[in-house]
Amino acid sequence: MAIEDDVLVIGGGLAGMTAALAAAAAGSSVRVVSKAESSLGHASGLLDVLGRIDGELVSDPYRAIARVDTDHPYAMLGTDRVRQAMDWFDGILGDAYTGDSHTNALVPTIAGTVTPTARYPRTMAAGLASDDRSTLLVDIDRMPAVDAPLAAARLEAAGVPFSVRGASITMPGLATDITRSHFARLVDRNETIADEPIRDQLAAAIASVHDGEARIGFPAVLGLEQPAVVIDYLSAALDADVFELPTDPPSVPGERLTRLLEAALDDAGVRMTAGVPIVDVNAADGRVRDVRGTHANTSVPYRADQYILATGGLVGGGVVADRSTVHEPLFGCHVSQPADRADWYADTPAGPHAFPRFGVHTDHEMRPLEADGMPTFVNLRAAGAVIGGADFPAQHAGSGISIATGWHAGRRAAEAIDR
């Protein structure tokens, strides 16, 4: 006997979680099985739909979908579906996120870059680069890998339309280096360090470097649980609009997004099993019958009517490259690739690599296709970075692809059960 559900989603990243929510919303019983704890904690927390094409900044991501290659997942879905998926996802995000539905926002990061994105955490709203108010960026000297003066200098050199200055603060309660996630937890608890609640100490330290700037940017570490409360508190204390800047992974906004989605999955009755890689597939007559997960050397069968492959790209392990081939290791789905490995890389470092585009290709039902154009299995769909055709880091399109393909695959899987 196997552990049984209507829909089994393999992979617990953004695509898998979205697919599970969409299938559950359509009335299916759903389980997500994932190899590790969610990888979404690495993500910046920004939700890009389409930020660049051929290196050029995109203003309206939906309009720009017309310009993607024909084998791009967006081309296969069509603009309307991508938009519908994002609108539906907004309902899940609720107040935590914001963003104009037609125009990409330009969000400054703590690395001193400006990144185009469709949806961003509300905590970053006061920081947009299109806003011309004077800005102070602040870091904590005890927090590695954040440097506000450097970020300010870079933003200035990039020609942002506002005056910007960076400053480092010392907090008396922090004697040793502190990670971003640790700091966020201290802020959540408003822990007393060096005889003073950390939020008060933070406000006082920032005030000592504040020189009347209209807004103050801080790395995204202002708590995992209630960043809006912390930001309101600091804004009132400093009489300026306080905002967060995205950081490198592991990122606090990525962790907040993970928690938000996990809570939504719980509410939707989705069952989740983490720590179990799916390693084996049992199929007959063109259908997946069951799959086997293994954990700590024990093998456990999972069975469903419909399956969704959301194991990620080369980073997540959903697509694997060895000396001579690129392949999808679990179901053996077809991955098209240049015959010669030398063609995997462009001649120039910034050129269009074939590499990040590797992945499975699907039909309109989101089913991976073999070289002959037939579905690998009639009850297997794919979602997220396991699908090829997009250079999503260069296009700033990662989350949008995961959300749109996950939404479509989840709904289609749920519909297929009724048939």
Partner: protein
């Protein structure tokens, strides 16, 4: 390149595991100890970085490795599947073998804690005396000052009869086969139970519930001779002790392994040790077979029997409300949500999950005087969640997590197996497990 340092037993090549580390820092963000202990450098350093630094050089292992609680959170967090806990276990073993004086206070204390089974075996022969002495204030003060075993915790109570002695009195495997046969058409299939020390000496009801539950599904239970699972030994870098204990367990389970019988556990740290840690570190005959046949007792029934359906159909007389904490070691075995999922379908039973915080005790970690404060600080979010959740009975698979839950909140803590056995009516009645006939 040969390593000039003495290697701990069975040390396997770890390079293929460390190479994929891309220094993303996710493991550090997941580490409960790093969160509260400023002096602890975190898993990235303890694991892949330290491994590279100590390879082929006479560089010492950093003593901070002893502050890792072996909770294995970092394992589950790493996106590149770097075997962090295996690296920690190896480094800890190396530190204890090469760098720690065997007669230093921490070494003596850790040896005592790691080999708890030996002391417990003696105490269990005189349980009432042991219980009286165990929480004697003067003795506990002396243990704290002299050995660094915190006086702030209550030592677990010894059951008046051990599980094994109850099992023998009840007629052992023969009696079990007889009872199982009543619920089974053919010859009852055999399962072998690894009860571990805690069930044997303290939470005897967990073992009894397991036996009753399995017999009600028509399985004949056997309880082979066994030693410690090794969990406290890994956490204290005592790899030789762990290996010695496991050799005894492998000998005891020889028949079960040869017959391919499922090996059941009721403690998620025991199953972690049998399934993963031992085969990662040692090369012993039967070690992989034992690992591959080991199951969490509820998981086995869920996969092989209609446990979920029977639970959904059950109509317990009384309603009950639990606050559940998933032990860290349950997480890496895909078991963190199992109890909650299974009990969700039982009418009248409410289970609230207290979230993903670590309880903070991690076996022997929270018993060390120098870590007691850290242990309670790690546990604080769990205590808070427990207090705000409905109900005032805890639920968890891990005996030391249960100890911590009790210590922090004063709640009684149950084991999911006991709850499941009670719900299905094969639980404790008048001090003995009655077996209900299998329906249908």
């Amino acid at each position: 390149m040969t390593d000039p340092r003495e290697q701990p037993p069975g040390n396997r090549d770890l390079r293929p595991g460390t190479d994929p580390c891309y220094k993303c820092g996710t493991c550090d963000a997941s580490c409960p100890v790093a969160d509260v202990d400023e002096d602890f450098p975190g898993p990235k350093f303890q694991g892949p970085e330290q491994w590279r630094l100590t390879r082929g050089s006479d560089r010492d292992v950093d003593p901070s490795i002893m502050a890792c609680s072996n909770c294995m959170r970092c394992d589950g967090a790493c996106p590149a599947s770097v075997p962090l806990s295996q690296l920690h276990n190896t480094a800890r073993g190396q530190y204890v073998t090469n760098q720690q004086s065997a007669f230093s206070r921490p070494a003596i204390r850790n040896r005592l804690l790691a080999n708890y089974r030996r002391g417990a075996a003696l105490a269990a022969r005189f349980p009432r005396l042991a219980n009286a002495v165990a929480n004697n204030r003067l003795l506990r003060w002396a243990m704290d000052r002299g050995l660094g075993i915190t006086a702030d915790r209550e030592l677990p109570t010894f059951a008046t009869q051990t599980f094994r002695s109850w099992w023998e009195d009840r007629g052992g495997a023969d009696a079990s086969r007889e009872r199982a046969a009543r619920n089974c058409e053919d010859d009852p299939p055999v399962v072998a139970y690894f009860h571990g020390c805690y069930t044997n000496y303290h939470t005897v009801e967990v073992g009894k519930a397991l036996v009753g539950l399995y017999e009600s599904f028509g399985y004949a239970v056997t309880v082979p001779p066994q030693a410690c699972s090794g969990t406290p030994m890994f956490a204290n870098g005592r790899l030789d002790d762990a290996k010695r204990e496991h050799e005894r367990t492998l000998a005891g389970f020889r028949d079960a392994i040869a017959d391919g019988a499922p090996i059941l556990t009721s403690c998620t740290s025991c199953s972690m040790a049998l399934r993963q840690e031992h085969p990662e570190l040692f090369d012993l005959a039967g070690i992989d077979e034992l690992a591959g046949n080991t199951w969490d007792a509820l998981e086995y029934l869920r996969v092989h029997e209609d446990l979920a359906d029977r639970l959904a159909a059950a109509t317990p007389e009384e309603s009950s409300t639990y606050v559940y904490h998933a032990p860290c070691h349950a997480r890496n075995q895909g078991l963190a949500r199992q109890a909650r999922e299974l009990l969700a379908d039982v009418s009248g039973v409410t289970v609230t999950d207290v979230g993903d915080s670590c309880s903070g005790i991690s076996g022997t970690y929270g018993w060390k005087a120098e870590h007691y404060g850290h242990s309670m600080a790690i546990g604080e979010p769990m205590f808070e969640h427990m207090e705000t959740a409905p109900g005032d009975t805890g639920l968890t698979e891990c005996p030391t997590c249960a100890m911590q839950m009790e210590h922090g909140t004063g709640y009684e803590v149950e084991h999911p197996i006991v709850v499941v056995a009670d719900v299905l009516g094969c639980g404790l009645a008048d001090g003995a497990y009655e077996i209900t006939e299998r329906s249908g």
